[in-house]
């Protein structure tokens, strides 16, 4: 039986066109782009073309793109590189409480180095109120980092409004757009951000290539020191096959965005409505302001692990919380911040659609899901207190 893959937040399959674009660089065209000989010069050109394509996806200029190895690196780079370069101005940073760990833990490291960090709370839908960001700003705030969309619960943030607040105070604003970029419009000038993280494997590009956009003229301390690649800001031999793949994937994402979104939304709405129509299954995140392919639900009286395993036996791959989190088996910091009661949070699964998913697959999931839930609930009926139910 074909697996039904509904975990596009942790990884998307590589598109055949992207694989084709990468293929020559995986083997034949292997020269180091820094080399002066013919092969190296040719590959330097391929690198710059990929940079332009990646930049186009977010409405930036090529020179504003720094390639990194993954989103985590780009987020760490943004936090530490920007903070260090502007430390004379101040040592206060504002983030939200539902950021990815690469932001939150980078913030924690900065705290150990003497920075102050304010973590702005979110509402029940996982939304950051721009007003709360405004209130968090101090005279020595140098950096605000709020994600564009949350990969665990799918809620979209009001980035433009937050950017407005940051601009009024002359503070650098970074957004982690890993979950949104390539799926929904992510134009840096429209959003008004000074820095933005994107990663190829979230829009059908390869793992191993991600990027940090940094607005031209923004001071930034290099992250990896060494050979001086990426204008000295990020040393290390460029992962050219992956970068070329990222460029191609970006190009495709930009040209197919509308049709992809339309079909994702259609599938998503059907899936979401079907799932929450099951008794005591609750949607996490914002009902409308959310990523087009994203459903996060908490299933009462069920633990997510047996639920995932049971679904897997039926050929359906889904995730619990974020990919990074699922090993830890702790309740997610995002759900906690949203005030989802621990008992409910434990029964959370995330289903994320991709462009390869079909109507028939949704039908299969909607057929199997209630049966699996019913079976598991019979085995383990943890009572949910009344007050918890009323919160939902």
């Amino acid at each position: 039986m074909e697996q039904i893959y509904l975990d596009h937040t942790s990884n998307t399959p590589l598109l055949p066109e992207v694989r084709e674009a990468m293929a020559p660089y995986l083997h034949g065209e292997f020269a180091n782009p820094s080399s002066l000989h013919r092969g190296g010069r040719k590959n330097a050109k391929a690198l710059e073309e990929a940079r332009e394509k990646t930049a186009s996806l977010i409405g930036a200029r090529g020179e504003e793109i720094i390639f990194t190895s993954c989103g985590t690196e780009a987020n760490n780079f943004a936090m530490k590189g920007l903070a260090a370069a502007h430390e004379k101005k101040g040592r206060h940073i504002v983030v939200s409480s539902i950021e990815h760990f690469s932001i939150l833990h980078a913030a924690r490291r900065l705290e150990r180095q003497g920075y102050r960090v304010t973590r702005v709370p979110v509402d029940q839908a996982g939304w950051v109120d721009p007003q709360k960001v405004r209130e968090a700003i101090a005279p020595d705030t140098v950096l605000i980092s709020i994600m564009h969309a949350n990969g665990e619960v799918g809620t979209l943030q009001s980035i433009r409004e937050i950017a407005q607040v940051a601009q009024e105070h002359g503070i650098l604003f970074h957004t982690d757009a890993v979950s949104s970029c390539g799926t929904i419009p992510t134009n840096v000038s429209e959003l008004g951000v000074a820095a933005l993280t994107l990663t190829a494997n979230q829009f059908y590009g390869p793992v191993g290539a991600a990027a940090l956009y940094v607005r031209k003229g923004t001071k930034m301390l290099p992250f990896f020191d060494g050979g001086g690649q990426e204008e000295g800001r990020r040393s290390g031999t460029e992962n050219l096959p992956a970068i070329v793949g990222m460029g191609k994937a970006a190009e495709l994402a930009l040209s197919h965005m509308e049709e992809r979104t339309t079909s994702l939304l259609k599938l998503r709405n059907r899936l979401m409505e079907g799932l929450i129509s099951v008794e005591e299954v609750y949607l996490n995140g914002h009902p409308t302001q959310r990523l087009p392919g994203h459903v996060s639900i908490s299933v009462a009286h069920v633990e997510s692990e047996p639920l995932l395993l049971s679904l897997d036996m039926e050929g359906i791959s889904v995730a619990s919380g974020s990919a990074c989190n699922s090993k830890a088996m702790k309740s997610s910091h995002v759900l906690q911040a949203m005030g989802v009661p621990e008992l409910l949070a434990r029964g959370t699964v995330v289903l994320t659609l991709g462009i390869g998913n079909r109507e028939e697959e949704i039908s299969v999931v909607l057929d199997i899901f209630p049966k699996v839930v019913e079976r598991l609930r019979k085995l383990n009926r943890t009572p949910i207190p009344q007050e918890v139910r009323s919160v939902r």
């Binding site: 190895s69 985590t72 690196e73 690469s102 793992v207 191993g208 031999t237 699922s326």
Partner: protein
Amino acid sequence: MKFPIFLDNMSTTRVDPRVLEEMLPYFSEEYGNAASRNHPYGWKAESKVDESRTRISQLIHCDPKEIVFTSGGTESCNLALKGICEIYREKGDHLIVGATEHRAVIDTTRRLERSGFRVTYLPVDKTGLADLEALKREITDKTILIALMYGNHEIGTIHPVTEIGKIAKERGILYFCDAAASQGYIPIDVEAMGIDLLALSAHKIYGPKGIGALYVRKKNPRVRLAPILDGGGAERGMRSGTLNVPAIVGFGKACELALAEMETERERLWKLNEKLRTAIESSLDYVHLNGHPTQRLPNILNMSLEFVEGESILMGINDIAVSSGSACTTATLEPSYVLIALGAGVELAHTSIRFSFGRFNTEEEIDFTAKRVVQTITRLREMSPLYDMAKEGIDLKNVTWKRE
């Protein structure tokens, strides 16, 4: 014979078809995130990652759990140096670093100097060997780390790592060894060599770009390291981020192949190396070998071909891919600091060419290269005022030059 002939295998290598074959499924059907615990895509990816970890550990004789995946050699060096300095700062603020280390090490220690660490750059002799007596002398009770590479990436000189490891151990100092240039070409045994941290890179041994590793010792002593990539806590908390599964699979296979073929390859490469060197030396005057004559990586031949500037040689032999240490050819536009450290003058760097051989080079290619190099140098020397002067018996060192 296919052109261009690639003799720049120290900059990067062609992915071995056997490596590529093993990677390809992970670009298509096997697209699980190795951290996704709950579905078969994730499981398969995880078990394949573990297999690679084991293969890599066998190349350097360590426990698979001591391997931390990174995005490449540069990140590994940054992680080792910055990670150690952050944790051990209270113990001491002094590092001893080889003068001929890769820029990923030197530029990182320069940055550490800016944040208050003291760094001693250990000189080398004219063959590129570190002075171990000087090393012993420079150690203080504030020294926390010695960073000395194994084989040098430009001249190939191999440091006596076992002795360095012993010195470090005796004084209770951590030893970081950058093996990105030497891995797979000469044997590495972190246990026998007393190495505490070791940097590796896949694309130098016919593996993919975008993946490297840092060996971090777990026992005797247990080395602690602050991550530079904070996040979900992958890789024993030392390096967060999505694991690059296809690249890791390729890295593992590349290590397996390198280990299996090391002995025969070493001999074959050394033969090619000697062949090219003797061919050039027998046809041209004023040529010098840079690096150690014997204690050298089998795949590096660095020569200075006097009176001819490196970039013009590269242009002249443009159907052969090589690199040079001349100012015009380096990323910094400074002549190679590695060659300058040998103490024979900057001219040596400006006229240097590095040939680095690899698995796919043939004898035929070396014969062609020798001919082409001799031809080009002869032509360029006809254009060189310095060659004329030397022929006239003028010592260039005594000439007063009119600089720009």
